[in-house]
């Protein structure tokens, strides 16, 4: 699946400082590192972009395009910043994101048509985040129909189910996965993405990686098209390339409910097994899930 590198986001102190000072170096270092690591897209997360939105996003786009040929994902909720960014991208960009919310349908969605971009559509509506599979389906069908009517085909649309952290709402993890599994049946030709690192938000830092990687493999089994993720996680890139077939097949076996003898596994395999069980909802999550 495609990896959209998430490292350039405004929450990072390094990035926000560089943006504030218009210092290209830290931004370009991150762009180069992600490109070298094997990312397929570079995400530029500006957040709400309240201050000088047009100037800021265009500076960012130009700065990154100086050092990489990868297509960009413009990641902001501000339609003014979004338009300014999309309009100058050299390669066909990804509009990240629009949703079923009224203001987004009216102001964000049409930009994908105007600038001929790919479009991330999330399941959000005016009522917030749908709590289960059925309501996600209901919401996304409505939003995709709206996009189709504007002339945006399914092939240009990447659906985001909105992923919540396993430490905040373990049940939602299964709901999101189930939704991604059903997607190809209800919206033929549609693509997908997800904010992979959300799964481990709130989990102790050193344990985040294995949650991200395991969930990615689980999603991949159902044909996930792309993830917005940490491209600098070597093991994540490696897993995605199919370079760790024993781990991948172990995760699938656990997903299938197969009984696996722990004593036959290496430490790493045991960690992936336990993580899969947590993400499946079979084991109640706690920060010490690898120790039990």
């Amino acid at each position: 699946m495609f990896i959209i590198g998430e490292s350039i986001h405004i929450i990072s102190k390094v990035v926000s400082q560089a943006v504030k000072e218009r210092n290209p170096k830290p931004i370009q270092e991150l762009a180069i590192a992600q490109t070298k690591a094997g990312a397929d897209y570079i995400d530029l997360n500006l957040g709400p972009a309240r201050k000088n939105p047009e100037e800021t996003v265009q500076w960012l786009v130009k700065t990154v395009e100086e050092v990489t040929n990868l297509p960009l994902s413009i990641d902001t909720l501000n339609p003014v910043a979004m338009e300014a960014g999309l309009s100058i991208c050299k390669k066909r960009p990804l509009l990240n994101s629009a949703s079923g919310r009224t203001d987004s349908k009216e102001r964000m969605l049409p930009l994908a048509k105007k600038y001929n971009t790919d479009l991330v559509l999330s399941v959000l509506t005016d009522r917030g985040c749908p709590p289960d599979v059925e309501s996600r389906i209901e919401s996304i069908m409505e939003t995709v129909a709206y996009a189709n009517e504007l002339g945006i085909p399914n092939e240009d649309i990447w659906i985001d189910p909105i992923l919540l952290p396993v430490s905040a709402d373990q049940k939602q993890v299964g709901e999101a996965l189930e939704f991604m599994k059903i997607l190809p049946d209800i919206l033929p030709g549609i693509k997908s993405t997800i904010g992979l690192s959300n799964i481990s938000n709130g989990t102790p830092e050193e344990l985040r990686g294995i949650l991200n990687r395991t969930y990615m493999v689980m999603l991949g089994r159902y044909g996930q098209h792309s993830v917005i993720a940490d491209a600098l996680d070597k093991e994540l890139i490696s897993l995605n390339k199919g370079e760790m077939p024993e781990i991948t097949s172990l995760i699938y076996r656990v997903m299938d409910g197969e009984e696996v003898d722990l004593s036959s596994l290496s430490q790493k395999e045991r960690d992936y097994l336990k993580t899969t069980k947590v993400l499946k909802g079979e084991t109640l999550y706690s920060h010490s899930w690898l120790e039990v």
Binding site: S167, Q170, E282, T283, L284, Y285, S286, H287, S288, E291, V292
Partner: protein
């Protein structure tokens, strides 16, 4: 065609814990089925247990109809506890060491411990002891209480994420059971039990997930207790198989509603207690003896 209700059976068990010593010993928990699922397979060896809350100082914020049953003993914790044991048919007394609050009277640990021992010895039921929740003060107070009441097999708490190590050590050393408290989060609850379990026996832990009053978050407590029971009894997660304490009296009686009238206060406490019983609370701490009587009657009839 006759309807035949399905009968479920479960493979997990809630641990049974004993507090109090000798003739006073009280068993809590131990069930192998879901709360009140008398129609399913499995056993419920111990009925829900009820305690009344006693303060180590005369409360100033309690409504007059709440103080009414104890009005002649509220200034003497020992007499107050004895009255609960004698007149109100409690299974246990819960001594709230309110005066140790550093922001209020800041009673020193030694004094609190001496009083606790007098209360424990004066009553013929086991004693639950709660600190005020002050992270640092509770360590000193509960450690001292544990030491001075060595052998009484108290149920001591709250042990929280920030201070459980020392309190657990004192409880273990002096033979007491421990209340593990977390703020309405099932994942944090499991986490604390895992951490505690490294140095303290899991079969001496009682879970306090925090009980919120009707209208003030009760459903969060309800869902949590229900999930904890299901995870323990159905899915055999050892770190959620501890009995649950619902310390709800204080939460209910501090509401605006409970302060409007006696009937409303009893209802508030009663509905909250009944709901949490259905969710799986094994031992409940109430404030008004009439609520306790009402609940026993409901359970008896049910």
């Amino acid at each position: 065609m006759q309807f035949k209700a399905p009968v479920e059976s479960y493979s997990g068990q809630v641990r049974e814990i004993t507090i109090g010593k000798g003739a006073k010993a009280l068993k809590i928990g131990g069930e192998t089925t879901l709360p009140f699922h008398f129609f399913d397979e499995g056993s419920i060896p111990n009925p829900p247990r009820f305690a009344l809350e006693v303060w180590d100082m005369e409360p100033v914020t309690w409504a007059k109809w709440l103080l009414e049953p104890f009005k002649d003993v509220v200034s003497d914790p020992v007499k107050w506890a004895m009255k609960c044991a004698k007149d109100f048919a409690v299974d246990a007394v819960c001594l709230q060491l309110a005066s140790t609050d550093p922001a209020d009277k800041d009673t020193p640990p030694e004094k609190a411990a001496a009083l606790t021992k007098r209360v424990a010895e004066a009553i013929n039921v086991p004693l639950i002891v709660y600190g005020t929740g002050d992270e640092k003060k509770d360590v000193q107070v509960l450690s001292k209480v544990a030491e001075v009441c060595d052998g009484e097999n108290l149920l001591l708490g709250p042990a929280i994420k920030e201070n459980y190590e020392e309190i657990a050590k004192a409880a273990l050393q002096h033979g007491h059971a421990l209340i593990a408290q977390t703020p309405l989060d099932i994942n944090l609850m499991k986490e604390l039990n895992i951490k505690l379990g490294k140095s303290f026996p899991p079969d001496r832990i009682v879970i306090d997930p925090l009980s919120s009053a009707l209208g003030y978050g009760m459903e969060y407590s309800f869902t949590l207790m229900e999930r904890a029971k299901q995870t323990g009894v159905i899915f055999k997660d050892g770190m959620t198989q501890m009995p649950i304490i619902a310390n709800l009296g204080g939460e209910c009686w501090k509401t605006r509603e409970a302060k409007e009238s006696k009937e409303q206060g009893i209802l508030w406490e009663g509905v909250t207690a009944l709901s949490l019983l259905l969710a799986g609370a094994n031992i409940l701490v109430l404030r008004h003896p009439e609520t306790l009587k009402l609940l026993r009657e409901i359970i008896r009839r049910g």
